[in-house]
Amino acid sequence: MAANVKTRRFVRKYSWRFWAGKTFQYGVLVIFALLCIIPLFWVISTALKTTKEVAANPLGPPIAFHWENFPEAWIVGRFGKYFRNSVFVSIPIVIGSVGLSSLAGYGLARFNLPGSQAIFYGFLLGLMVPFQSIMIPLFYILKDIGFIGTYWAMIVPSIALGLPFGIFFMRAFFLGLPHDLADAAKIDGCNDFDVFWRVMLPLAGPGISSLTVFQFMGAWNSFLLPLIYMQKEELRPLVLGLMFFRSRYTQNYPLTMAGATIVMVPIIVIYVLFQRRFIQGLTAGAIKG
């Protein structure tokens, strides 16, 4: 019997169909992987060329590495300033949206509040309508309360817009945690906030870190919102700075690509470092959704 299985495997392994199948399988997988990587390679290789070389040898690797394009873009393109802006807005957005989502997600999951269903559906509405549904009046609201022209014009709306997904996600997470621990902590004399802060929040660590990476990516790459609300040049986040830079230096590809590299490298590094968390968060949201 065992020998029979072995021969069958042997035959299967060395039949031409098996190899043709494997070649097709890996061929397709590798082609789509190259499709993803090669354009990113072009960005970096172009950033290291001179303008002349770009026209003569657009697709190949650079002959000599012109690293000076990066400091030039950093200074001429004011990417240093825009980088700081992006950091200044992203950190409060992430803290605010993850913090408030955790609180509200916990409140909706663990207290039998009258109207909690309605509140939850109200938040879900925010997942269904696009930003465009609110962007026009929001501009005038932000103007009236004096946020336009400050970092707040991006921070506060981004927190509010991050809440629907955040609450949806954290509520599901807290619903999945065991009740006994919280009850035990209560008997030991913890009040409700202590239970949340010392018991439940540490247990929700994986959910919180997924959501943090997720919201950070959203804040860092956010485009339409700052395009409308952060028109002042000194306030522009990196992505917007890159767009205006590109329209000013249309023909200077090395500088534009150096700028694009400055924008994409931090997010790629964060993605690669935290990808397990990030993809977990994404798929948990997607599949439970």
């Binding site: 397709v28 925010g126 465009q132 927190i159 509010a160 860092w220 790459n221 395009l227 599949i287």
Partner: protein
Amino acid sequence: MSARAAALSRGAGIAALRRAVSKVAVGYAFVVPALALYVFFVIYPFISSIYYSLTSWDGAQPVKVFVGLANYRRLLSDPLVGQSLLHNLIWVIMGTISPIVIGLLLGVLLWTGARGMVAFRTIYFLPVVLSEVVIAIIWNWIYHPLFGAANELLRFIGLGNLARGWLGDPNWALPALIIAAIWSYYGFCFVVIMAGLQNVSVELVEAATIDGANPWQRFIYVIVPELRHVLTMITAFTLIGGFNVFGIVFVMTQGGPGTATQVIATYTYRKAFQESEVGYGAALSMVMTVLSLIASYVFIRLRERGE
């Protein structure tokens, strides 16, 4: 209620009621900060949007003149709206089917026993984390009329006479944008489909194999039905994304050449923020709202029927 409870058993009743009330108050204390922010910065502007769409406001006048449904009547007769919606429709059809098919193909190929799952996943997802502006810069470069990769490739395979300035050609600009969008998105479809595939039972597929199903039949009759939840979710998500697409179009072509790539989101932006037709812009934004709500509603219904 409180009077009756109190009358029934004075001390204990009041204490229990107090505990219940304080429990509810604590619960609300967790929810209220988020709710307040959400109501003020999302719900209130959402309702205002509906109101704005019924006015002829230009963003500057002190009063907003109520004009009823005039903006919506104008929508129906505005040829640019029809054209933009047609572009969105093309975008939604091409931009939904292709990345899902690619994601499904890659997912199934990896699922049926290829090595290097984590490496492939990392690579496929890279374009998804990029900003729309970076994607636009990359693809503007690929479509460059003189030395872009698209033309170089055509010349290389002997089809040099097809080379053109892709984004400057009214017939090709929209498909060119959609290809860029597909590139930036199939990794997302792949990751979600892959997660769905983890829940497909291997026994089921093996049983089908024993029953004589060929790989294609196994794919269509076993794997796809098992993935239906994930596929409806991702379809709804992609449809909504396609109706509201903005960044790539705005950065790459600004809706041009002429109006060849104008979509509803770029048209709305132009009206509301560049031409100061705030009321009309709000009506246009309502079109996107309604389309997104319809897509969400269909998704929820399909989901409920599946369960």
